[in-house]
C-alpha cells in the first residue's frame, strides 16, 4: 500500500500584478524618490520582484508636510462618523482584495499562503473594522468627553507581518483623527504599496496616509523630523533604543513594540497533545519571525521526556517549502541577513553545549531556508535562552516547581508574552499573576484580536496597541 503524498497545490500568482518599479506614496500620488532605489526580492527563490524608490530627507519632509496639510485641512476636523466611513470602506476593500493581498504578502515575505490567507489578511480587515467602530465613539473610550488627535504620526514597521503591522499602526491613528507617514521594512514594501492603492480606491483624502519606502536612514529621518507629533515603532530593541534617544527631550509621543523571548510553560497536568500543538504554533508560526514567539519552552521535568517525544513526532510532519503551496506549514526566512543571524545563534547554541535536533527535511536549493530546530539541554545562561533568534528555533528548558517556572520565565530582559499550559484553572491564574509579560496566553498561543491590547514589559517596549488601550497613543491625553 502506497502512502499518499500531497501533490503540489500552489495558489495562483495571477491575482497579483507586480509592477517593475514603485515610487513613494505622498499626498495621494505615487512620486519618485530621491534616494538610491533598491530591490525587493522573493525570499523563496531570490528572484527580484521590483525596484523600490528610496525616500531621502527631502522626500520625508514632503511626506510629513502633506500629512500635516491633510491633518489641518481635512482629517483632523472631520466628524468621527465620517472618518469611520472611510475606515469601514478600507476594511471592506481589504476583504474584497484579500486573495491578492495574501498572495503578494507571501511572495514578498516568504510566509506560507495558509497563514497570510487565514491569519494575516483576515486580521488586517478585522483591525480596520474594529477601529472604524471607535471613530465616532472616542468620547466613550475613557479619555474625556472629546479627546483630540495628536496630529501627524510617523510609523516604522517590521518585515515579519508587513500588512498586519501596517493595520495595527494606521487603523487606530486614522480613527482618532491623525494623519500618518508610514515606512514599511525595506525587504517587504509591496503590500504597503498595494495598501496605498486601496486608499485611493477608497477615496481617502490625499495626504491622510503617506507611505515612504527606504531603509534605516529613511526611518531615522522620519522619526527625527520636527513635523512629527507621535512616533510608533515595531522592531528590534536596538533600533527602539536609538529612537528613544532621538526623541528624548522632544514633545513627541512614543510607543515601542520591541523584541521578546517568551516562555511557554507546560505543566505536567496539561492537555499534552494540545500543548504540543501550542508549542509548534508558538515557535514555528511565521517561521518564528514573531516578536511574541514562544521561543523558550519551559516544561515540567516529570513530563519533559513525553512532551519532547510527541513534539519531535509532530515536528516531523511539518511541511517546509514553497510559500505559495497551500499545504506548506513553514515558508522561507525573510532575508539572507536574517538567515545568517539564525545560523549564527544556532551555531552558538551547539558551541555552548546544547543538543540540536531537526526532523529530516529537504530544503529548496534556492532562497533562504532554515529547518525547524529544537535545542534540548539548554541552560538559562546559554545565548539561545537569552537572545531573540527570530527564527524557527526552540530552546527547551525544564523546571520542577511552579515557582521555578515563573522565576525562569521572568529571568529575561524582555517581557512581551508568555504561555501557560495546564488543565487547572487556579494554576493558570497564579502563574499569570506572577509573570512579567504583557500578553499571557493560557492553553493557546499566538492568538490576536483587535479588541485585545498588546505590548511589552521591560525591554520589550512600552505603550499598548489594540483595543481601547490602543487609542491612547493616538489621542492627546
Amino acid at each position: 500500500m502506497t502512502v499518499f503524498e500531497y501533490a503540489p497545490a500552489p495558489e495562483s500568482r495571477s491575482v497579483v500584478d507586480i509592477r517593475g518599479s514603485y515610487g513613494l506614496f505622498i499626498d495621494g500620488e505615487f512620486t519618485d524618490g530621491h534616494g538610491e532605489p533598491f530591490k525587493t526580492i522573493n525570499p523563496a527563490d531570490e528572484s527580484v520582484l521590483a525596484d523600490i524608490a528610496c525616500a531621502d530627507e527631502a522626500d520625508v519632509d514632503r511626506a510629513v508636510k502633506a500629512a500635516r496639510a491633510a491633518y489641518e485641512r481635512v482629517w483632523g476636523a472631520m466628524p468621527g462618523a465620517e472618518r469611520g466611513k472611510y475606515l469601514y470602506r478600507i476594511a471592506r476593500i481589504i476583504q474584497e482584495r484579500s486573495r491578492e493581498l495574501a498572495v503578494l504578502e507571501s511572495i514578498d515575505n516568504g510566509k506560507p499562503i495558509r497563514e497570510s490567507r487565514d491569519v494575516d489578511v483576515p486580521l488586517v480587515a478585522a483591525w480596520f473594522f474594529y477601529y472604524a467602530g471607535w471613530a465616532d465613539k472616542l468620547g466613550h473610550a475613557g479619555f474625556g468627553p472629546d479627546p483630540r488627535p495628536v496630529g501627524v504620526a510617523g510609523q516604522v514597521i517590521p518585515w515579519n507581518f508587513p500588512l498586519l503591522m501596517l493595520a495595527w499602526k494606521i487603523a487606530p491613528a486614522l480613527a482618532c483623527g491623525n494623519t500618518v507617514v508610514l515606512k514599511p521594512a525595506e525587504t517587504t514594501p509591496l503590500t504597503a504599496l498595494l495598501f496605498a492603492d486601496i486608499c485611493r480606491q477608497a477615496d481617502l483624502p490625499p495626504g491622510v496616509v503617506n507611505i515612504i519606502t527606504g531603509a534605516g536612514d529613511t526611518g531615522r529621518a522620519l522619526v527625527a523630523h520636527p513635523g512629527i507629533d507621535k512616533v510608533a515603532f515595531t522592531g528590534s530593541t536596538d533600533v527602539g533604543r536609538q529612537i528613544a534617544r532621538t526623541l528624548a527631550g522632544t514633545s513627541k509621543k512614543l510607543t515601542l513594540e520591541l523584541g521578546g523571548k517568551a516562555a511557554n510553560i507546560v505543566y505536567a497536568d496539561a492537555a499534552l497533545d494540545q500543548a504540543v500543538e501550542g508549542i509548534v504554533n508558538g515557535i514555528f508560526f511565521n517561521q518564528g519571525h514573531v516578536c511574541c514567539a514562544g521561543s523558550r519552552l519551559l516544561v515540567q521535568e516529570s513530563v519533559a521526556e513525553e512532551v519532547l517525544e510527541r513534539l519531535k513526532a509532530r515536528m516531523a510532519t511539518l511541511r517546509v517549502g514553497d510559500p505559495l503551496d497551500k499545504n506548506t506549514d513553514i515558508g522561507a526566512i525573510n532575508s539572507a541577513a536574517q538567515l545568517d543571524k539564525i545560523r549564527e545563534l544556532s551555531a552558538a547554541g551547539e558551541a555552548e553545549g546544547a543538543d540540536r535536533w531537526s526532523p529530516p527535511c529537504r530544503l529548496p536549493d534556492r532562497g533562504f531556508w532554515f529547518a525547524p530546530t529544537l535545542f534540548t539541554g539548554v541552560a538559562q545562561s546559554h545565548r539561545i535562552a537569552r537572545e531573540e533568534i527570530f527564527g524557527p528555533v526552540l530552546s527547551v528548558l525544564t523546571f520542577r516547581t511552579p515557582e521555578e517556572a515563573v522565576t525562569k520565565a521572568n529571568n529575561t530582559p524582555y517581557g512581551l508574552s508568555a504561555g501557560i499550559w495546564t488543565e487547572k484553572g487556579s494554576q493558570i491564574l497564579w502563574t499569570a499573576q506572577h509573570l512579567r509579560a504583557g500578553v499571557v496566553w493560557a492553553n493557546t498561543f499566538n492568538k490576536f484580536d483587535p479588541a485585545s491590547p498588546f505590548g511589552g514589559y521591560k525591554e520589550s517596549g512600552y505603550g499598548r496597541e489594540g483595543g481601547r488601550h490602543g487609542l491612547e497613543a493616538y489621542l492627546n491625553v
Partner: protein, 303 residues
C-alpha cells in the same frame, strides 16, 4: 480489571483541550489534496468503505444489491477497487456471506443489541455468537454508555472482554457512540478502555445518534491508537462512521490519519469509513478526475 483500577488509569490520562483539538482538526481539514494525491486518496477511501445498511426495513434483496455494489462499485469501470466490507444486522449476515463468498469483501455485523446496547449481557453475547456463526468476519459492538457515564468502567470493560471472547476469530470493532459521551475527555477514556479490553478497532458511532463521526472526535481516537501502540506495541484500527457524505469529507479523514496516527494506519486493515452515500460521491469524483467532466447522478447506481 476493577472499576477502581480502571478509574485510576483512565482519569490519569492527559486531558483533551476541546478548543485546541477542534482547532487542530480544522487546520488539517484545510489541507489541499489535488491531482495525483486526490486520485490516490479516492481509491484509498473506496477501499476503506464499510458499505452499510442498518434499517428495520432491510430485506435479503436490499442486502444482495448492496453486496453487488460492494464488489463492483462502478460496473462500467473495473479499475475501481472493491470496498472493505459490507455491514449489516446479524440476521442478514448469511445473505451477505452468500453474496460475497470468494470476493474478498468482508462481512461485518453489528451486534450486542445495536444501537442502544440496552439488553442483558446474555442477549448481547447470543447476538454476537449468532452473527459469527452465520459467517461474519467482523463484529461491530456497542459499549454500555449508561455504565460508562455513571463511572462503572468495570462493567463496560467486562462486557467488551466477554464479547471479544464470543467473537472467536472475528475482528471486534467497539463502537463508543461518541455523540452520547459528549466530551473529548470521555472519548479518550473510552478509547483506552476499549483497547485495553481487547478491541481490534475503535469506532465512533452507530450512525443512529447525532452527532455521529466528527473530525475532532476522530482526531482524539487516532491519538489514542497512536499512543496505545507506542505503549504496548499492539496496533488498533479506527473507524469513523456516520455523517461522512462527500469525497471532501472522506479526504479530510485520510489527512487526519496521515498526520496524526501516521501512514501505518492508511490501509483498510487499520482504517475504515462507515458510510453508504459517500461511495457514489467518491465514484463521481473519480470519474471527473479521469474524464475531466462530471457525470450526472443517474450514471451511478442507487441500491
Amino acid at each position: 480489571m476493577t472499576t477502581t483500577e480502571l478509574h485510576g488509569f483512565l482519569h490519569g490520562l492527559p486531558g483533551v483541550d476541546q478548543v485546541g483539538a477542534e482547532e487542530r482538526a480544522a487546520r488539517l481539514a484545510s489541507r489541499s489534496i489535488k491531482m495525483s494525491a486526490k486520485a490516490e486518496a479516492i481509491d484509498l477511501a473506496i477501499s476503506m468503505v464499510d458499505l452499510t445498511t442498518l434499517e428495520g426495513a432491510d430485506t435479503a434483496g436490499k442486502v444482495r444489491a448492496l453486496c453487488a455494489k460492494a464488489v463492483h462499485p462502478d460496473p462500467s469501470d473495473p479499475s475501481v477497487p472493491k470496498v472493505a466490507a459490507v455491514c449489516v444486522y446479524p440476521d442478514m449476515v448469511d445473505v451477505a456471506v452468500g453474496a460475497l463468498r470468494g470476493t474478498g469483501v468482508g462481512v461485518a455485523s453489528v451486534a450486542t443489541a445495536f444501537p442502544s446496547g440496552r439488553a442483558p449481557l446474555e442477549a448481547k453475547l447470543a447476538d454476537t455468537r449468532a452473527a459469527v456463526a452465520a459467517g461474519a468476519s467482523e463484529i461491530d459492538m456497542v459499549i454500555d454508555r449508561g455504565a460508562f457515564l455513571s463511572g462503572d468502567y468495570g462493567t463496560v470493560f467486562e462486557q467488551i472482554v466477554a464479547v471479544k471472547d464470543a467473537c472467536g476469530d472475528a475482528h471486534l470493532k467497539v463502537i463508543l457512540e461518541t455523540g452520547e459521551l459528549a466530551t473529548l475527555d470521555n472519548v479518550r477514556r473510552a478509547s483506552w478502555l476499549a483497547m485495553r479490553a481487547g478491541a481490534d478497532f475503535i469506532k465512533t458511532s452507530t450512525g443512529k445518534i447525532s452527532p455521529a463521526a466528527t473530525l475532532p472526535v476522530t482526531l482524539v481516537m487516532l491519538e489514542a491508537v497512536r499512543d496505545y501502540r507506542a505503549a504496548t506495541g499492539r496496533q488498533v484500527g479506527v473507524k469513523p462512521a456516520g455523517g461522512i457524505r462527500t469525497t471532501k469529507d472522506a479526504i479530510k479523514y485520510l489527512v487526519l490519519v496521515n498526520e496524526t496516527a501516521g501512514p501505518d494506519w492508511l490501509t483498510p486493515d487499520w482504517f475504515r469509513l462507515g458510510a453508504s452515500s459517500v461511495l457514489n460521491d467518491l465514484l463521481m469524483q473519480r470519474r471527473k478526475l479521469s474524464t475531466g467532466v462530471y457525470s450526472g447522478p443517474d450514471y451511478f447506481t442507487l441500491d
